[in-house]
Symmetry: C2
DNA sequence: GAGCAATCTGTTCATTTGAACTTGCAAATC
DNA sequence: GATTTGCAAGTTCAAATGAACAGATTGCTC
């Protein structure tokens, strides 16, 4: 897709961006590659833009946008202990933020993304632990087998969404916990797309 | 620390940075706040820099650096399939990056942080799955029970570090895998501090 | 009242910077 | 042989942009 040279230019831009926090000007790129003419750089930029590797704000200085940073960071609010009725997700219930880039999290562009801190071991067999931060998307389409945060009979829980005989229920991934069949309604608030776990520093629990 | 007005200016800069990918020029800031003189902006920037809220590259266009992008995010290189001898961690073996903020990852400031993509199920009972990205720190102090990436007899693996009778060995968290006792040397390359998992979109595996 | 910090205006400069021509050459493609 | 693509150089512009200097107002403190 890119020639050797073109890739080098792109990499230089990305590196500068990352290290200095600012994208280089055309002349800085020029001198880095020892080119005698700034026009050469303009040509590279034109190619990179045409091929979709960068975006440019016309006539603005240092206004290159590399895909690296363009997608980059999503600030995801963590809603902590949600007792009941997450319908009212407000700023007040926000426990903190995780910042990570959309790609490393599987997040789609349009859906609203948020996070929950998991409490309890009800999803232990899905390898989701107490204290894990689960990142969810507010999506319409829920598939059979997805792990979801759902509001069931007034309480929000993280469970696996299972469709059986045309009727959905929520399955706990732990035999000690009951599956939940909605008495009235089952409202899915988010579909799990990712998980972040902080490892306890010195862990004592394992002693078997 | 900041006056109302100063904070507004800072926030505008950060918002622009985030949404457009480029920091605004002084004149853009000026017109956003309806100021008649660009000098006013220069004064704000001087204050913000003096107070440590932004960095500036002198005489460069749009060369503001906001703490948002400066501190916050750590770009963690992911080393993919490491067959043997991670002593040679070079750019070439980098599979990609995860970007997340140091706090949500438990990362200490001074230690070198990197990530590995896990392959295999040898740590399944520690709830680490095939495909998970494990974030590690290159630390000196390893505690009994820590999960570590270690170079044992020329091969890098992720295992639990267990000290028994004064001798360390590597314990797999899966009965199907053997524990590893170092024949020659056991070199810990990193201690696990965090984990990031992308959830498979539509998952078929669970069918029990 | 003097002094000071925060805020804002007005004006002018020197660079920086993106952009638009043109020309040249070599390798690949048709 | 003609055309296209990648690469490079040289020149010139106009606009964008950071910076400096002078002055003014307001409110607060000593």
């Amino acid at each position: 897709m890119l020639t050797e040279r073109q890739r080098n230019v792109l990499e230089f831009i990305q590196t500068e961006q990352r290290e200095k926090g600012v994208t280089p000007s055309t002349r800085e790129i020029q001198s880095h590659f020892g080119l005698a003419s700034q026009t050469s750089v303009m040509q590279y930029l034109a190619v990179l833009e045409r091929k979709g590797f960068i975006d440019r704000h016309a006539r603005k200085a240092r206004a290159l946008i590399t895909p690296v940073q363009k997608v980059r960071i999503t600030d995801i609010p963590i809603y902590g202990q949600i007792p009941a009725g997450m319908a009212t997700l407000t700023e007040q219930t926000i426990e903190g933020h995780v910042s990570l880039d959309a790609r490393s999290v599987n997040a789609s562009k349009n859906a609203r993304t948020f996070a929950l801190r998991v409490r309890g071991d009800s999803m232990i067999n899905a390898h989701i632990l107490d204290g894990d931060i689960v990142i969810l998307e507010d999506r319409k389409d829920v598939h059979n087998g997805d792990i979801v945060a759902a509001l069931i009979d007034g309480e929000t829980t993280l469970k696996r969404y299972v469709m059986e005989h045309g009727r959905p229920y929520l399955k706990a991934e732990n035999p000690l916990y009951p599956d939940l069949t909605p008495a009235r309604e089952l409202r899915v608030q988010g579909v799990m797309v990712s998980l972040v776990r902080k490892q306890a520093a010195a862990q004592r629990r394992k002693r078997n």
